[in-house]
Symmetry: C2
Subunit: 484 residues, 2 copies
């Protein structure tokens, strides 16, 4: 045979080519460098990923009380239990134990526990005013897992395309690359607060179709990641019409729906669709995603998320069910975490006041931090930052001096990557370069979360400010010519 | 455009073809029929899937105590805590809280928490006498998830093949189909206690290669699923030599390693490899899997499992790391469950006696049930059942009367599927037809778990016995001619 005896069977050249091609920069070069710093005992502030608890956000008490009782149901028989847990947490744990057969240690149905899926359906109905069928809800190990399942279903070959906003969350670019499809980019309008422009959608679609791409679906993220904008009801109507008229499945990534700061509300795609006339209302194939990882819960570690399939062919729901069953079921503690998020304590419940206070505290504090960081960025030379209306990120545009662009070129690095590396080395701040999300040609950005705790926030802003001023001094101010 | 306006964009004909093709019968037709019965208020005993807690197995107390404290760390400050939790559970929870940054609600590293991966590496070293590097360990949402990740990496196109034992656990057939590769079957020798025969491996490999298949890897399951056999050290040496000599990655599915009943021990592939000379010892690319879902823990709902990559190209480890990062991380409670399994209470610890007793009780009871069910099957006309040396299943061969084969044919159903349907309808027992695992041509089997609690076991055996006797009466005994 023609192989080199010392060569591994599996090596970088002999694995699946799509695996090689895909990129995931949220945990890419900068994250690896940050891990290395941590190993060396140097300080790192991980603002690369929306991981609230990782940066000190405390879990909401009620949910964790219920969860503790589900982990150790024998506590329910302990005579002291009433001193340690509020009555409604005990009650809720008993309800779950009744409906989660075998408890959290047993496999559930592959779509997720039916009782919890009913809780989700009820939540969707309260939010949208529209009926929701639990049979069309799939709980996953995070929303990422179910989103990838749908992308897998839609991508048949390299001619199938998915429209994705640029900048985008790299779950989409990475998964589309992994499944061998084509990412069809549409650009958000940065100067206009990252607005979505229907003309740009049409341009993008036309261009892809002219290249022979079968565009099958459009993804949007509301509130935006990394861009932080909230879509208006008009935006959503336009999107729905555009997708229906152009035969696209609409994928609505609504995982940041609780993270709202500017007074502009989150409006669910399901609600807007329900208010539209036929043929849209019963015609648009809509998949929407939500998670327990973001919002006031921020329980990323539980990997609990879901999707609702709406107006979807039942045969497709069955096929997805089959594929979900290969992994048996999503983790059950994560399912319960989702249930607790969509069906929290209500006014009048013993735990309601504490729940409400904790939840408001989280969101109010994030609102203040969003304001602080946007203002800080905008006060600096060469930095322009759109308002963070929602989500967990700030995504400033940086105008890089031409001397720095030269330096990056000579080092063979993308300028925004090099900027983030210098930032990390000098300050310990671990951000994600804009290129990891894709960005308009010849623009540079980076993403930072707004998650460091408020007590540390001013220090972080000071570090960044001091770094950036030194950076501009080192490489010289950006004149009109040096702004690529 | 040429589409029918009323046609869905996504329908059974317009999704990914591999998704359509793949099958997963553990939750297939019989399971669906069982769910329907449950909905109608009829009794179902779900013996289709190895779900111990779903059938009444109780969680081991120590692990759940630690888990409860991790869910609600504020309990650690409660003055009553020492009355409700043993000191070593409190201590262990504190250790995890120190090493799991942000607690169970925070994302971990994408391979899993480093402290827990070190616990796993230490376990592998104790078991095999060989060093293990935590950087080569990936924790997943169950072993299924990481197994699928490796299969994805190995399958480049429809000419890449994976050798899989027949009968097999359909995770493998389903995933290989989903990723567009070729399943290369090798048959286990039923009459010989489902032994693995090296001549059969060679036949299978030759046949595949003669068809132009690039055979890249061989999967084995030890103890076997659905077949229950334990491999000997000689078997394992042969397997290792065979794989190395033929340039195959060896995938060792060892998730049932704690489920051992017959006196034949479980021997880990890592241990045997470590005892072999070069070039095998440092040459064989080995991937081994373990889980918290089986064994004495049986914590399926946590979806905690891991793989260790051994002798693998570091570039491949990096590529897998990148792909793992797209889903951010495996669920953290599941990671902790794995840590608790591989690093349980030790002799001298406060909780050790209870832990040991509970663990032994589970395995001893399963041993009795394995014996009972094998003997019951073997006492029936037309049923032959190999001994369940390990795992959670019994996989009897049934010789079906020719009248029944005719009846199945006229109904357009596979005979084993129809048999299981009749069994379900008459007794409420939900088993999986042998065709779901694949089986030698013209043989018929079904798989049942040995998981129903002992108090119910005799009743279940009685139901089956009475069903099968009635069945044989209805369709007539199997003469030599009617045995296909």
């Amino acid at each position: 045979m023609s192989y080199n005896r010392g060569e591994k069977i599996l090596n970088a050249n002999s694995i699946n080519e799509y695996m090689k091609k895909c990129k995931y920069e949220v945990r890419g070069e900068i994250y690896m460098a940050a891990m290395q710093r941590t190993k060396e005992g140097k300080e790192v502030i991980y603002t690369n990923v929306g991981n609230p608890h990782g940066l000190g956000q405390q879990p909401l008490t009620f949910g964790r009380q219920v969860m503790a009782l589900l982990m150790a149901p024998f506590l329910l028989d302990h005579p002291n239990i009433g001193n340690m847990f509020p009555s409604d947490a005990i009650e809720r744990a008993k309800i779950y134990l009744q409906h989660v057969k075998g408890g959290v240690g047993a496999y559930s149905d592959s779509k997720g526990n039916p009782y919890i899926r009913q809780e989700i359906a009820d939540f969707i109905t309260r939010q949208s005013g529209q009926p929701s069928d639990p049979n069309n809800i799939f709980i996953g190990n995070g929303a990422s897992e179910v989103a990838r399942m749908v992308l897998f279903a839609m991508i048949r070959d390299q001619y199938d395309g998915i429209m994705v906003p640029i900048p985008q969350y790299p779950l989409y670019s990475a998964s589309i690359a992994l499944y061998g499809g084509e990412l069809v980019p549409y650009y958000l309008d940065e100067e206009n607060g990252w607005a979505m422009d229907i003309n740009e959608l049409q341009r993008s679609l036309n261009e892809a179709r002219s290249k022979g791409i079968n565009v099958r679906s459009l993804v949007f993220i509301n509130p935006g990641n990394p861009t932080g904008q909230c879509l208006t009801e008009d935006n959503l109507r336009d999107l729905i019409s555009f997708c229906y008229d152009n035969r696209l499945v609409l994928c609505a990534d609504e995982v940041y729906q609780e993270n709202i700061y500017s007074g502009k509300p989150f409006i669910s795609s399901r609600k807007v669709l329900g208010s539209m006339p036929e043929p849209y209302k019963s015609g648009l194939e809509l998949v929407s995603f939500h998670t327990v990882s973001k919002g006031a819960h921020g329980e990323c570690g539980f990997r609990g998320g879901y999707m609702e399939l709406h107006n979807m062919d039942p045969a497709v729901v069955e096929e997805l069910y089959k594929v979900a069953s290969i992994n048996l079921c999503p983790n059950v503690p994560g399912q319960v975490a989702v249930g607790l998020m969509v069906n929290p304590p209500k006014p009048g419940d013993v735990s309601y006041p504490q729940y409400k206070r904790e939840k408001d505290d989280v969101i109010d504090s994030l609102r203040r931090r969003a304001r602080l960081i946007t203002d800080a960025f905008n006060s600096l030379e060469g930095v322009v930052c759109q308002e963070t209306e929602g989500a967990l990120y700030s995504f400033p545009k940086i105008t890089l001096p031409s001397a720095f662009l030269q330096a990056a070129k000579s080092k063979g690095k993308q300028p925004d990557v090099l900027y983030c590396l210098e930032l990390l080395n000098e300050t310990g701040l671990s951000c994600v370069p804009g290129s990891g999300f894709q960005q308009a040609p010849d623009t540079f950005h980076f993403r930072t979360t707004i998650l460091p705790q408020e007590s540390r926030f001013q220090d972080i802003i000071n570090r960044f400010t001091s770094f950036h001023k030194g950076f501009m001094k080192r490489y010289g101010s950006s004149g009109p010519k040096s702004r690529l």
